[in-house]
Symmetry: D2
Subunit: 224 residues, 4 copies
């Protein structure tokens, strides 16, 4: 049903940092890119953009419509970030809920809508962006860490369920702040979006003889 | 504000298995027990029962009223279990949400309502019941594991935030099925509720010189 | 073959901190204590002391002789510490080997010599003392962390092999410095030896319905 | 001091499976390959072979001589495998020692000899091959798992010590059996050596803006 023969990358949670770097990396290899986010990007990007709010109740229908229009993606990146940092006692239920709805429930909705289609279309790769907080709940990250933990558990379940059916599921732990993409490559203690995009590209190229489920990524000078 | 001088244990998610064993164990040491769950227990228990649905919107107010009536607990066990097991593709959003609301959001609400009061009253112990799925997302546990991961991340944040203020926060990974309490002690491959209760009791006795944040518990014959 | 009907605790790597606290705690419950270390303790302790160097080639024979003399222990604590801290490039092979021989090979020798006898005598509990470095290899801990990791892997294998035969195997992660036993209970940011000993005592009391394999212990004010 | 301007890959523990695939992959990109193992390979390989037994006492001198002859490697793979599987009680001290000497002490010796030279020559990448047993001590893997745990701890320490000085240190968890290289690409439940080699190649290409320290690799159909 796709308009073209090119493989497609869908980026859910597209933004000017990692999202833009991913669009560039995959477009460079002649993939079509469908960027999805709540608002249209301010600067032009390679590929198509469509509005998607993963916290909206009609997300499943919206994704079904996009599938009907574009066909199944070969690669899917889930990079929705809902960041909250606050002392534990000052963390409200709204924060706790917002982090989970954007980062875990949204990922669940996207997976449930797209993975069957990906499997049916011959398989592909799904990459979830995690964070330091995916494995460590810091004192000021009750809302953020709990939601990133939830995403990690979900990613494991999805990998065990879908990998035997041809869909490779990966969870990337981005350990550190992502550098401003305009300065890509400059700060060794910061994660470089172009370098992350290159790694995600490689994950999408892994043959079934050696799939990575989880890996970490950090700048060379990042303490850990 | 407490009616008595006895230390109090609050059990959120009281049930006839672990909840009943905890009530017995702490009552035996002369603690007062306040059992909280959606429905009154079918069989008599030592202590008081009050109705609490942690997924209800007024949970915070309800807990504030209970605090006003009973005073702050010295020990708090969060043992709400919302179990779901289903193939990944057959897991609905309702399941995903129900597990998280009962096991993670509920825990957050209870912690936000009670930990400040516990710290102010001189400290105490909070124990969250985890599961095998707290560290491993199985193919048929997308909803359950994601929520148990979320609870684990929350428990870590709470420990780091509250332990310096005197509230010990522990996360117990219950690895296996819990035996029917009527047959307590009979099945070595099953977790014995009385044995878990005894361990929780010990956690609540740990002096500040050696606090456990995380431990696992399984029957002697349980493969792992 | 035991001289008495009392249950025995053997402490391998006895010292004036945790070792002494353990001897006191178990003796108080009327256990016999056999303390083993390279040199006789400077201050009197409850129980018997015997010289044992776990890095000596005749360790197996030495332990067989002790078994013949005393009978099988009901509880066994392996608390040999060989501490090294140095910049990675300045860490010599001697350090690397010394940490492993004392903390991993010694544990293996002790386990191979004693666990069959413990199983045959009806079971019991083995506790290995780990450290922060059991799960995290810091830049200045190449020798120490590698050996503590090795001990952790060994403890897991032993648990899986022996628990079905009645020997409970636990690994305690002691996260932080242990306070001077003379000031036991004074410093919340330090691990209190008496508090650790109390926890080890509880581990040795756990019924087969809920055995802990791994737990962490840290002072209330210890950052983690 | 190198004879050529080509970047060099050194493979310690060269064999006909992963070693051969690595040699091919890097040679294809015009790297020079130095294969090191106890015996010369039976079949021709791209690059040079030299005899090295990492358990020999003169390993450091031997490596210094190789450095003097060939110059510092840009990439270094440590893939020495000493496999043992036996019931715990039947595991001898020889097995326990052999696994550690080959997989942990050997890695330490190689790192101590080569990493300073790599840092001085401008940096590079070191990859240690781990296994399922790097994170899980199975009942029949006391010797193997303990040594693989030791290697993992060492790899973490090396990463924290050397990454700020330009040497990227990675630990790859190879989860499963490696397929016979003659049938590369045939069995989805087996790890394909060519696919692993391709992943190691990518690790060696990662720019300092996003370095992976740990990742897992398994066949698409491998249960985990």
């Amino acid at each position: 049903m796709s308009m073209s023969d090119h493989a497609q990358l869908w980026i859910v949670g597209y933004g000017p940092g990692l999202g833009a770097a991913l669009a560039q990396r995959f477009a460079q290899a002649d993939w079509n890119v469908l960027a999805l986010s709540r608002r249209a990007p301010a600067v032009p990007m390679p590929g198509t953009h469509a509005v998607l709010d993963v916290t909206a109740r009609d997300t499943a229908q919206r994704l079904a419509a996009l599938l009907a229009e574009h066909g199944a993606p070969r690669a899917l990146v889930y990079d929705v970030g809902v960041f909250r940092r606050a002392p534990c006692a000052a963390t409200g239920e709204d924060d706790f809920r917002a982090c989970w709805e954007g980062m875990a429930l949204g990922a669940f909705r996207v997976a449930q809508a797209l993975l069957p289609a990906m499997a049916e279309a011959g398989g592909g790769t799904v990459i979830f962006s995690g964070a330091t907080a995916s494995r460590r709940g810091g004192a000021e990250f009750a809302a953020f860490a709990s939601a990133k933990f939830a995403l990690r558990g979900l990613a494991q379940s999805l990998a065990r369920a879908w990998q035997p059916r041809g869909v490779h599921v990966a969870h990337a732990i981005l350990d550190g702040m992502i550098a401003d993409s305009a300065r890509s490559g400059q700060h060794a203690a910061r994660l470089d979006p172009a370098a992350i995009a290159s790694c995600y590209w490689q994950l999408a190229q892994q043959p079934p003889g050696a799939w990575t489920h989880e890996l970490d990524l950090r700048g060379a000078d990042e303490p850990f």
